[in-house]
Symmetry: D3
Subunit: 290 residues, 6 copies
Amino acid sequence: MRFDEAYSGNVFIKSHPSYEDAQAVLYGMPMDWTVSYRPGSRFGPSRIREVSIGLEEYSPYLDRELEDVKYFDAGDIPLPFGNPYKSIDLIEEYIDSLMKDNKFPLGMGGEHLVSWPVMKAVAKKYPDLAIIHMDAHTDLRTDYEGEELSHSTPIRKIAEHIGPKNVYSFGIRSGMKEEFEWAKENGMHISKFEVLEPLKEILPTLAGRPVYVTIDIDVLDPAHAPGTGTVDAGGITSRELLASIHAIAGSNVHVVGADLVEVAPIYDSSEQTANTASKLLREMLLGWVK
Amino acid sequence: MRFDEAYSGNVFIKSHPSYEDAQAVLYGMPMDWTVSYRPGSRFGPSRIREVSIGLEEYSPYLDRELEDVKYFDAGDIPLPFGNPYKSIDLIEEYIDSLMKDNKFPLGMGGEHLVSWPVMKAVAKKYPDLAIIHMDAHTDLRTDYEGEELSHSTPIRKIAEHIGPKNVYSFGIRSGMKEEFEWAKENGMHISKFEVLEPLKEILPTLAGRPVYVTIDIDVLDPAHAPGTGTVDAGGITSRELLASIHAIAGSNVHVVGADLVEVAPIYDSSEQTANTASKLLREMLLGWVK
Amino acid sequence: MRFDEAYSGNVFIKSHPSYEDAQAVLYGMPMDWTVSYRPGSRFGPSRIREVSIGLEEYSPYLDRELEDVKYFDAGDIPLPFGNPYKSIDLIEEYIDSLMKDNKFPLGMGGEHLVSWPVMKAVAKKYPDLAIIHMDAHTDLRTDYEGEELSHSTPIRKIAEHIGPKNVYSFGIRSGMKEEFEWAKENGMHISKFEVLEPLKEILPTLAGRPVYVTIDIDVLDPAHAPGTGTVDAGGITSRELLASIHAIAGSNVHVVGADLVEVAPIYDSSEQTANTASKLLREMLLGWVK
Amino acid sequence: MRFDEAYSGNVFIKSHPSYEDAQAVLYGMPMDWTVSYRPGSRFGPSRIREVSIGLEEYSPYLDRELEDVKYFDAGDIPLPFGNPYKSIDLIEEYIDSLMKDNKFPLGMGGEHLVSWPVMKAVAKKYPDLAIIHMDAHTDLRTDYEGEELSHSTPIRKIAEHIGPKNVYSFGIRSGMKEEFEWAKENGMHISKFEVLEPLKEILPTLAGRPVYVTIDIDVLDPAHAPGTGTVDAGGITSRELLASIHAIAGSNVHVVGADLVEVAPIYDSSEQTANTASKLLREMLLGWVK
Amino acid sequence: MRFDEAYSGNVFIKSHPSYEDAQAVLYGMPMDWTVSYRPGSRFGPSRIREVSIGLEEYSPYLDRELEDVKYFDAGDIPLPFGNPYKSIDLIEEYIDSLMKDNKFPLGMGGEHLVSWPVMKAVAKKYPDLAIIHMDAHTDLRTDYEGEELSHSTPIRKIAEHIGPKNVYSFGIRSGMKEEFEWAKENGMHISKFEVLEPLKEILPTLAGRPVYVTIDIDVLDPAHAPGTGTVDAGGITSRELLASIHAIAGSNVHVVGADLVEVAPIYDSSEQTANTASKLLREMLLGWVK
Amino acid sequence: MRFDEAYSGNVFIKSHPSYEDAQAVLYGMPMDWTVSYRPGSRFGPSRIREVSIGLEEYSPYLDRELEDVKYFDAGDIPLPFGNPYKSIDLIEEYIDSLMKDNKFPLGMGGEHLVSWPVMKAVAKKYPDLAIIHMDAHTDLRTDYEGEELSHSTPIRKIAEHIGPKNVYSFGIRSGMKEEFEWAKENGMHISKFEVLEPLKEILPTLAGRPVYVTIDIDVLDPAHAPGTGTVDAGGITSRELLASIHAIAGSNVHVVGADLVEVAPIYDSSEQTANTASKLLREMLLGWVK
Ligand SMILES: [Mn+2]
Ligand SMILES: [Mn+2]
Ligand SMILES: [Mn+2]
Ligand SMILES: [Mn+2]
Ligand SMILES: [Mn+2]
Ligand SMILES: [Mn+2]
Ligand SMILES: [Mn+2]
Ligand SMILES: [Mn+2]
Ligand SMILES: [Mn+2]
Ligand SMILES: [Mn+2]
Ligand SMILES: [Mn+2]
Ligand SMILES: [Mn+2]
């Protein structure tokens, strides 16, 4: 006899009460143990849920309401602290089960490394999967200080797994020289600094294809997302990010899963970033889950 | 024998010492008791005054100085805590007296509900009043959880009072579906997302008319106004808001009163929002009080 | 198929999965709408749960572990925003059901007014109920600005309901002169400033009696509990409050319910107060639920 | 026609409306320009006034109410930024006028240097003045980096002015070796670390004498007063400071003026220090103004 | 035997170990004693160094790496607290030595006044020096409250020293009417509000000339730089500032020195401003030191 | 040609310029990668150095000045991020070198695990070493989630290494039941809750023995040390901790090394904890290095 949680802040606002007939499943991946600089994203999913109760249920951008989509907030995947190997195995396993049940996976990080096992699991079902990646950072390292499981490696891993030509990065403004060179040499797409304009050019070329979208909140300028571990000046506005989500929604790609990662509440004065994340998730749900 | 307060932070900087020969009267409405999510705007007016001492007295936008306008800061209207009914009566009564004395009323909120009795009082004097409303939110609800006096209802109230066709909302990016529909069906103007461009189109149609301007600080993006109760991503910049104030100043409308509401210091790291509000008020005084 | 929540921060750590065989029920009362000065305690229960995952499960004070007590965290009672009348009715109704099911009610506020309907419901079952009240404030007003439902009135209400002689306040360092006088004239016990020593003197006189304990976190000095609406210097240490909880645990009174109220996360730098509250709740559970 | 300010936060709560029949005058000295480490106390007086509206008007310590004393809050003395010489002249001049009018001067800093001109002015009227000084720091330097007007010199200055034997410092836990030696060699009293116990011993020796009390808020431990420029561990509790104020109130000394300095809002999370300062001022008013 | 400091946060990341063969010298000027409103920039240089360890060493804007430039971080110039006269003498003396050794001076403030002695020293070596100044403020006062050494005077001083026609200000949105008029009358260039576009127009006219660039971080909008003493709405984005640095790098001017001033960590929630400053310094080093 | 750093905040205040003739060596161990709950202590050492410039150089407790002890601040040991194995090897190696050079090692954490390799290295030189451990937590786990290198295991490791009978823990108020039982069964000393009184009883029994003292800042109550990862109510005051340091200084034990760990600046509003840590280090240097 728990109180109904739809507006409690324990689940994302208006979470559907049952898994079975949900189209999409929202889940948290509270892991930040490979983060080198400023950890804290492990608390991201719970804070996003907490502030989601302040969210308006209607999107004037998409003219659609939260009750038009059935999504189930499954809570946070329990991950073993400090063990990235076991953590990514558990995530992959969970996404495998969602894929089997034909659910749209909508993940909340945690650090960006969590996207790697998710994308791997989604690629099993969709062999010609393409990745749309929005981030300040290339995330194309092979390793960080000798460790291949790092929040700076997930895009390299998926690029090697499904082929660099199938990965499209946008808004990148930071990385090692070697990472940019590797991308160039291997035919991976990188749009530096901008998101919306290059995205609009590329979307038609992906028409009909299954696409997974992974958004690192730090693609936003620190003005728009102070609450993340690695703030980096010169980013895009939340308005451009919203428009980019809507551009994907209005295109002919087939979004088959998505995530939003790296929200870190401890650096988030005024809870501005968590609120923005909760609005972005609403638009992702309403625009991409069909 | 109180010390002169012109630069004390207890009044808005350079407040004229007497009410009698002032053109404009600045007053606070420290009420936030109908706020559902994050209260705190009751402390807005006093913090804006406090930071106003850091304000330059000259506007390079308008080439005008504070001493070119005589305004009297009357302090905060004493409002009975927790009682919105009596509070709005007291506000209306006070504005009635300002109208009688031919003062330009320039109000500081407090929650947005405080604008309702002000607009009502101003409309008594100016029967063909138009409202320019800048906000992230429609504020067109008939009630909130059954209560008609709520910070989500003031625009509905004034729209029904003076006719929806006389109300022009700008920058709106949040609201219930029903609110947008009601506006549409009743001929009320709503510009979604943008302020400056649609405003420039509409101003000529209002030439010569008396206009009251109500600005909810959350029309700004959270990057520009973190210090408010309901932050909502995708807003405009402070630069666009300044330009909008100047567009009105340069038009042929007759501004007969204005307010700036919803500044909440507790969420305002670096006092950024209070400082911005104090600059906006300077531009409103210099641009609109003639 | 929700993930197990025992360590998720959505429930108090190690919450038992079922209501039926639980001895105690933990519940939140997220209400702060009668608060005059600094609201925010509505977010107290969820933040206490969130930080409870950092809590050690063993008490070296009591040599007892959380798994020695079966408690069920029921979540937050959904309360109608801004309506104290309906809110307290809903709380009373819920506690009535807990009483019927022979559960130990352990509440988390919210503002102190929420204790009034709880105590009233508990008193139905235990007619000779005594109240132990720890607070910086008397909370003995008849009304606040004419409103009888206020966070400054709950102790007056219960005192009039069960008789002032059955109410024992400790640690009081703030109130109106009239409140102290009313207490004195009506035989109600008030220990000013101190908690532990006077409590030790009074506990033997209550031996065998059913006792409800209501703790306002502001009984602690602001040094120990900055995260509350009404900080008031000169309070007790968290060490004295822990010892007071243990003194009750070691006495012959029969604790039949309890609450901890007024934690307000927005003022709680370093989450110190929420962490303290979560430790206090552990000691209350382990010391008082038998 | 300004609104009544008694509860506005612009004056200390319940400030009497007129200077003429006030017993005491409260005034701010918003100066911090000689501060070497962390400035910010210039904003102390206004924040103390702002939070004073949350203060209970009755003291259960002294069984006295604010309306039992007539005090007038004169606002902040306008001081020329960056010019300590002219600032202290202006302060001295103002206190001279208060002395002439037989007002009890109750000052709010600002940095501790502001106490020097006040004490000098008070000493003109009371030639056998004694000083009670509570502080973490000796403040006995002759100069700081060659500058004799520094917040580390006021006690040296008054000690040389009225004779070191008439100065009694309490709670001192920081200073240069030379300062402690100078005090010893010149017969000035310093109680290291403790306040209440040594004060109780000394008060009888001062019976009947005019005494000025200067309290640096940093005499409190940083736990009790984080909001000050120079936090220094190992200080006293707010409880001990309250008891010390009451000890003076209950003694036979004749308090002829007092101040409370060094509150710096920018470091004051939860406004804990400002709230404590406002309570201390209430007790000083009720205990010392007779 | 100190540990290598290249990644310690005690020096700017990858600082070259020796002064002798360095092309550029980075140094801090931790002075803020003439600041009237909100001091704190004296801690700017050390915080910028601290966060620089999170900086990527490669610039995707300039396709250049930090190891492509040899720069030596000399630490902070020890400045006598509270004494602006001696401080600026010490700064000038130090820059004289850098000029003699043919080093590119790259300074970190501190308040803007520190740029005055630097520019004076650089002008000795380069008689036809031009100044590019980016700021929210004119900084053209002759004095502040009678004091000619103020953070509002450095541009006036250098303009009078090398001739107003050689000074180009960009992004100005605040100042006294007299300052704008003085600039106009004396042929000094001021671009109001904008930086990038007017800069692009002016750079060709400066081709071949030695240029010193002084950037006040408050040229950025408060959204992009909350961590400064004088936040002023309506500023440029960090993206525009980066592009402006790159425009200079790509032009034919000969940058002979530069500084970045007014970062104040105490107002810098999420350390956003310090991180931005560290990125700007990387771009200045990679773009301007050749 | 670096500027002298003695007062720069880059080294602990008044650090001696050379290693060779220093009695003590101060060093940072910026590691927090095994921390389960709230990381951030990796930034502790640099913040402690930064605030140390505000420290008075004389101790009125010990009547000794910093220049009476020669200590060299070596900076932070460069530790490989995310690799606790290699990190503790590097630390041990460094302490070995200090031991060989007869330096008194004074370490700053970082998480508590860093003390393990230090104590191991010190024990090589002093076979009959005893450990004095002050902490809120037992730190006696064999592993955390299967990982033996965790900040909850260092005391278990040293206890097993030198024999549990040689380890004395004080102030412990948190831990698993098994940890307390293991201590009891193996003759290790644990003083629950208190530090000063039990310490005074035990010091005579250690007379003449070499002792290493490891202080976890969380032994302080959260009121006195909010800036740490695991705040736990009911701790001791900074006054008791200072007195405990002085009690050791005044005893006949032979302190041969010490550390202070777990200061985490991100949670440290007002920099209170860093300031306290810097004062504690001064007292440790002046009291223990002879
Ligand atoms: Mn990423
Ligand atoms: Mn990223
Ligand atoms: Mn509104
Ligand atoms: Mn709004
Ligand atoms: Mn209460
Ligand atoms: Mn209370
Ligand atoms: Mn002092
Ligand atoms: Mn002091
Ligand atoms: Mn400037
Ligand atoms: Mn500026
Ligand atoms: Mn420990
Ligand atoms: Mn610990």
